[in-house]
Subunit: 262 residues, 2 copies
Amino acid sequence: MTVEIFPISNFPLVRRGDNIIKLIVNSLEKSKLVLKNGDIAVITEKIVAKAEGRVYTLSNIKPGSKALKIAEITDKEPRLVELILRETENILYLGEGFLLVNTNQGFVCANAGVDMSNVGENRAKLLPENPDRSAEQIRKALEDMFKIRMGVIIADSFGRSFRAGSVGVAIGCSGVEALQDRRGERDLFGEELKVTRVAMADNIASMANAVMGEGSEGIAAVVIRGLDVLGEGSAGDLKRDIEKDVAFKCLKERYNYKNREV
Amino acid sequence: MTVEIFPISNFPLVRRGDNIIKLIVNSLEKSKLVLKNGDIAVITEKIVAKAEGRVYTLSNIKPGSKALKIAEITDKEPRLVELILRETENILYLGEGFLLVNTNQGFVCANAGVDMSNVGENRAKLLPENPDRSAEQIRKALEDMFKIRMGVIIADSFGRSFRAGSVGVAIGCSGVEALQDRRGERDLFGEELKVTRVAMADNIASMANAVMGEGSEGIAAVVIRGLDVLGEGSAGDLKRDIEKDVAFKCLKERYNYKNREV
């Protein structure tokens, strides 16, 4: 019944066009780790995005007039704002040093996940374009190679409302029951459960985040063994019907950046 | 470098006045688990709250006029609303079936964490009154008994803004660097980190939540071994300066339940 988490710490620096599956398999071999049935590989979005060519040199980006305005409001680099806007479906809030947005992929996060760390000077990295698709591709390739059934989660860390600090979140997921629906299940006394939907993929991404760190540790993936959570599911299941989200609605109606000049 | 999570699954039903430390030690013994230096015990708030006598029989509760009004708006049982209001510092939002509140302890969550599952019919359970203090008492007792240094986290699961489902959160913490401050640290290229504050205690609570489940499994605690996160810290560190939280401010200013008749 013990759950084990194996850090995969020997990834090379990843570049555009690298075969992410080969890199993962090489690193597993160096770690002498053989994947088993039921394992979950949690991979930082950083290496997926880099391999997919989502890194841009800022000096090549030309900020538009909206980016220039928002750069002034937020006191951010206009080229960086331009990249953030390209990734943005809705702006929810503009603050000092950050934009809170709903991304094209449907994630509510700061700066659309555009990130200047771990990519080198004067460069910025966007989130993978379709992390659920990336997770599925990686899962299928690893399943074929190891002749097993497994799950793959692509993880980032997001800040959140109401609590300090960032936690791990699943932005891509395949082969894992991402959102467990426990409606109708009963507690120890036979009563209905309070919590009926568990964001299992986010719990697992947080688990990995606790082990991976954010900085120069270079732990780009972990393998989790002993959790019984394989099933159908994608990170898309964790996107809320945002029109029903009270904080989202409140911010959207209050600031309404979409329908007016910023 | 492997991290291990040991579920402690043989807890008895906990009652008011039970010695929670004895129960933990008994369950560890039955699991043949000896605590080691650096371990973290994550304990569900349910058993802590029960031992502390935070369970109420609803038929003994007399709802006040405010509770009656809010019960009508939210379509909830008036006695349950009365208990929720006693635990509430600010109401942020009233919706169908729930109140989003800031609790007396400073947590933003649905229904002030008041919960009717796993306590028996016609009864409701509040959160521990001071979970950081409870975590510290448990940590000190276990440290003395096992002659080690360790961490203790008291975990609940909360829904959150912008994403579906609930995740584990640390509502009490002792002996763990709950909020890691990484400002000034550098990435693989020597650049500053994007994410500078990691909610490590919440990541660990989510880790435990993935293993514990919510229902009749009866896993009331886990022991995590191999994470290097001992230090000073409390769950209080994870409370945000809420006046700086954009969603909190927006909801408070919009609905302003405090300063008007509900």
